[in-house]
Amino acid sequence: MKISVIITLKKDVLDPQGKVIHQALDGMGFSDVNEVRQGKYFEIDTKENDSKKAKDKVEEMCKKLLANLVIENYKIIDAQ
C-alpha cells in the first residue's frame, strides 16, 4: 500500500526559501502571488494492507522522524 505525506512549515515559522522563490516568481512576471511556502513530499510504500493500520504507522513515522513538530505540520494525504 502506498501512502503519501506532505510536510509543511507551521504558519509562524519563517521560510526564507519560500520567500526567495516568491521573489523569483515576481521577477519572472508572476506578479499576483501572495506567498510561497516550501514543504516536503514523501511516498511510503508499506507491506501493510490494512489502510487504517498503515496510516497509523505512517503517523508514528511522521511524529518520530519525518516531521519536526516544533516547526512542521504533517498531513497524510492518501492511501492506495
Partner: protein
C-alpha cells in the same frame, strides 16, 4: 579526565575536536555511531560536520543512530554532553535541548569569526571562566535558532541561554546576529545545564598561528571544572 567524540558518517570536525581535547589534557576516545555502549567518559562530544549529508533535516538521521540511545541515557543521568554545530543540530533533534535550527535567514552558508557573550556561568561548562566574550568561529548553513514563544519563555526563565552573538565588547544587538537566531542565541543548555549545544566551534580556535586562541580558554576552563 576522559572524553568521547562520536563520529557519524559525514562528521568532519571529529578529529579537530580530538586534537583540541587532547591538547588540553583529556584522554579522548573516538566512538563510531554504530557502537552500542559509550566508553566511560566525563564528557561526550557530538562534533560538527554534515552527518548523513544533512538529509531530511540536519541532524535528524544521526539523532536516531545506535549510539545515541547511550548518549541520551548518559545525558539523562547527568553526564556532560556537548554538541558543536552539527552536534547542536543532532541535540535538538533528540530533544535533549529545546528548539530547532533553521536555514540561515539570508540563505548563505556563513563561515567567519564571531563574538559570543557568555550568558550563564553557573554551570560545568563556563563556571570560573574569566572571559565574558569569546571570539569563535562559525561555519554553517542551518544555525538560525528558533523555538516557540512558550519554549522561549521557559528557556529564559530557567537561564538556559548559554551564549549570544554579540560585538567585540559584548553588546548583544541585531547587527551582530549572523543567521537570524531568536535573541541572538548561539548556544543553549538543557534544564539541568549538563547538556550544551552551540553553533560556534571552540576547537577551531586553539592555536594562535591558525585562527585564534579563545577556544583555548574554553577548553582549559572546562577540564579544570571537570577535575
Amino acid at each position: 579526565m576522559k572524553s568521547a567524540v562520536i563520529t557519524f558518517p559525514g562528521s568532519n570536525c571529529d578529529r579537530d575536536m580530538d586534537v583540541a581535547l587532547k591538547k588540553f589534557g583529556f584522554k579522548n576516545k573516538m566512538v563510531w555511531h554504530q557502537d552500542v555502549e559509550l566508553p566511560k567518559s566525563d564528557l561526550v562530544v557530538l562534533p560538527g560536520g554534515f552527518s548523513y549529508g544533512d538529509y531530511l533535516r540536519c541532524g535528524s538521521m544521526a539523532s536516531k543512530s545506535t549510539i545515541m540511545q547511550s548518549v541520551i541515557n548518559f545525558a539523562n543521568s547527568g553526564g556532560m554532553v556537548m554538541g558543536i554545530c552539527n552536534g547542536f543540530q543532532i541535540l535538538v533533534e533528540t530533544g535533549l535541548v529545546p528548539g530547532v535550527l533553521l536555514r540561515n535567514k539570508y540563505l548563505e552558508f556563513i563561515c567567519k569569526n564571531v563574538f559570543v557573550k557568555i550568558n550563564n556561568k553557573n554551570n560545568g561548562y563556563f563556571k570560573n571562566i574569566s572571559n565574558d566574550v569569546l571570539e569563535l568561529h562559525i561555519a554553517h548553513n542551518e544555525g538560525n535558532y528558533f523555538c516557540t514563544n512558550d519554549q522561549l519563555k521557559e528557556i529564559e526563565d530557567n537561564a538556559q541561554v548559554a551564549i549570544n552573538y554579540c560585538d567585540p565588547n559584548g553588546k548583544i544587538e541585531e547587527p551582530f546576529n549572523p543567521n537570524g537566531s531568536i535573541k541572538n542565541i548561539a548556544g543553549i543548555f538543557n534544564k539541568k545545564k549538563n547538556v550544551l549545544g552551540m553553533m560556534p566551534h571552540p576547537e577551531r580556535m586553539i592555536d594562535s598561528s591558525l585562527s585564534g586562541e579563545d577556544g583555548s580558554y574554553f577548553f582549559k576552563n572546562l577540564i579544570n571544572n571537570l577535575k
